[in-house]
Structure formats: C-alpha cells, structure tokens
Amino acid sequence: MEVKRERLGPAGAAPGSIRSRPPGAGGERSKSAQRVQSLNAHQLLRGGDLEGANQPAHLEGEELDRYVEERVLTTTLDKTVAWARSNSFFPLGFGLACCAMEQFQTAGPRMDIARFGFEAFRASPRQADLIILAGRVSIKMAPIIRRLYDQMLEPKWAISMGACCSSMGVFNNYALVPADKFMPIDVHVPGCPPRPEALMHGVLKLRKLVQDDPDMGWRERYDAVGTEEHPFDA
C-alpha cells in the first residue's frame, strides 16, 4: 500500500501542530482525515513487517495532526481546567427552609456527596463557587441572596433546589419570588423537597455541564419520542 504524503501549502499549518485546522471546519473532510478514520488499530499501533491491510501506516504532517486530534486524547487547557473545576465544587449550602433538611442528608452517610468531592460546604461566599438555594426565597431575602451571589468569585454556578425556588411551589403567594427573577440559575432540581438522590442528580448534571458536555435531553439520549405529555411543534 502506498503511503500518501501530502505537501502542505501556505494555507496549512506547520507540521506537528495540534490545531492545524479547527475541528469540523467547513463541509469537506480532508483526505487525510478520511484516511485516518479508515486506519485500523493494527496499522496505527504496530510497527514491523505486516502484509496487506495490516501494513503499518506512516503518518506525517497534516495526517499526523488529524490523527492526534481525533484518535488520541487531547486535553487542551480548557478541558483540563473544566475537569478540575467540575470535580471540586465548593458548595455554599444556603439552606433556607425544608429543602435544607434534604440537603444535609445529601452530605450524610447514605447519599454521601463526599464521594464526588463536594463535601466542603463553605460558610463564606468568597470561598464557594456553587450556591445551592435550598428553600423558599421571600421578597425580603432576595436582595440578600443576590448580594451573596455577587460576592462569589467567578466561575460560579447556582442550583435552585426544590419547587419553591424554581417556580413558587406550594407557597405561590405574595411573599415569595422565584430565584430566576433575581439571579441566573444553572440547574433546577424539582421536588418538594427533592430526595437527596435528586439533589445529587442535579449536582452531577451540573458537573457534566461544567465539563462542557451538557446532559440536556434524556429524550434524545434514549430516543424516547411519542410519550410527551403535550406534543407541540416547537
């Protein structure tokens, strides 16, 4: 099998560079990319004398770049930092009402949140990066929470735990305000109160979100169509 050697023009990147072109650029897959896709494991990993389809492939230049990009785990700085951040949230557990009871149990022995590394509930907003609003937010409390949220350092995330923060819940009256009205919320955890498992699920969803792999649609994931409560054309 003949090995193709492509000569890079001025438009290409220098050989050996990781980001020779942005991933998925344009509609055309370069020949090198297609070739890399078509190589099998033997060709990539083994050297030595093999016959036929298992002859080792020598990659150079742009092909090498594509190979490294697509087949080898490339951790860019962003991904590494996102991985580190997502695995070490410091929650500012802001337990306001009944949901706080379930929040404590998430940190308890049965639903141990320390398994994931989030057991360090900080008391000071300066040291926290995740605020878990657990409970009812009254109109009087809202500016205080906003002030705490503003004191947190970037990057910061917010989880609205329970029905009352997200959508007023059973206490849908003059005294409460949903948390979305005064601060940005990343994950809403439904429930009244949500079980510790549910809060854990919400925190793990946030973790996936931070790792730049937002776990948005379970329906897409499981291909579950036709069971929506009120299907409408969005």
Binding site: I139, M168, N173, A175, P178, E229, H230, F232
Partner: protein, 165 residues
C-alpha cells in the same frame, strides 16, 4: 376561663368600655371600645390577667367596622384566660398601642400593622416586620390578591405559546 357569671362581673368592672360579652364553649370574650383598650387591659390586669399571650388582627370585610384586633390575656395563677376584642373602621384604623404596659405587643403590633394596616399610636417603632419596608398594601386583608406567579402546566403550554404571539 371565668364562667358566665364571672364574665359578667368582669364586664361590670370594665364599665361602659365593655360593649358586649360572649361566653361560648367555656371561652370568655369581651368586646371593648377601641378608644379605651389600654385602660380596659389595665383593669383586667388588676383582676389577675397579667400575661398578654398574643394579639391578632382580623379583617371582617365587608362588615364595618372592618378591622379587628384580638388580645389574649392569661391568668397564670388561676389558670384562666380571657379574650379581648375591638373593632376599628378601615378609614380610621387607629388604636392606642399597649406596648408600654405589655412589652410583648411590640413585635405583634408591628405584625398586625404590616398585615392589616391597623395603626398603633404610641408604638415605639411602628414599621413593617414581615414584608419589605417599601411594600405597598396589607396582604392579609380580604381584598388583597393572593399574588404569586402564574403556573404553566404542560397541558396548557401550547395555549401559552399562542397567546404570546
């Protein structure tokens, strides 16, 4: 609680401040004139009811006088209790504050002011206690709307989307 006779005797002590007495299910209530609430409570204190347990606000809408304040007095030595009620109209909701004699009335009168709009004259610090300071309206009045956010059920989602366009 004082029995029916005891209640009548108490009412006689209060004189013409007592408008009405109610004795129902072993509970005694005396309705007093709003202008003389402080002296009425002082008289009852002399009779042994020395503990103001709580004070409450009521909205009798649409009856006039619309707003009411209810005082629960306890006699700890004789294990006895009596309820004192008063009514004020909503266009003149001033009641003399009893905070000077009964310190527990401090926060509780603030709550009645916040929720019903009864103005307690002579109160050391009459401001809202449950709602924010700049809130308008008195939420526990009967003509105050319930408030809150509209709930969008999934089955109504299509209608909401149409209405928005």
């Amino acid at each position: 609680m004082p029995d029916a006779t005891g209640l009548e005797l108490l009412a006689r002590e209060l004189g013409d401040a007592a408008i009405e007495t109610v004795y129902f299910r072993n509970r005694a209530t005396v309705v007093v004139d709003a202008a003389r609430i402080r002296t009425a409570l002082a008289t009852l204190r002399g009779q042994g009811y020395a503990f103001l347990a709580s004070l409450h606000g009521v909205d009798y809408y649409p009856e006039e006088p619309r707003l009411g304040v209810i005082y629960e007095l306890l006699d700890m030595s004789r294990v006895d209790r009596i309820t004192v009620k008063l009514r004020v109209p909503s266009d003149a909701p001033q009641v003399e504050s009893v905070t000077a004699d009964w310190p527990t009335a401090d926060h509780q009168e603030r709550e009645v002011y916040d929720m019903f709009g009864v103005v307690f004259e002579g109160h050391p610090d009459l401001r809202r206690i449950l709602m924010p300071e700049d809130y308008e309206g008195h939420p526990q009045r009967r003509d105050f709307p319930l408030g809150g956010e509209p709930v969008i059920f999934t089955r109504d989602e299509a209608k909401w989307l149409e209405a928005r366009e």
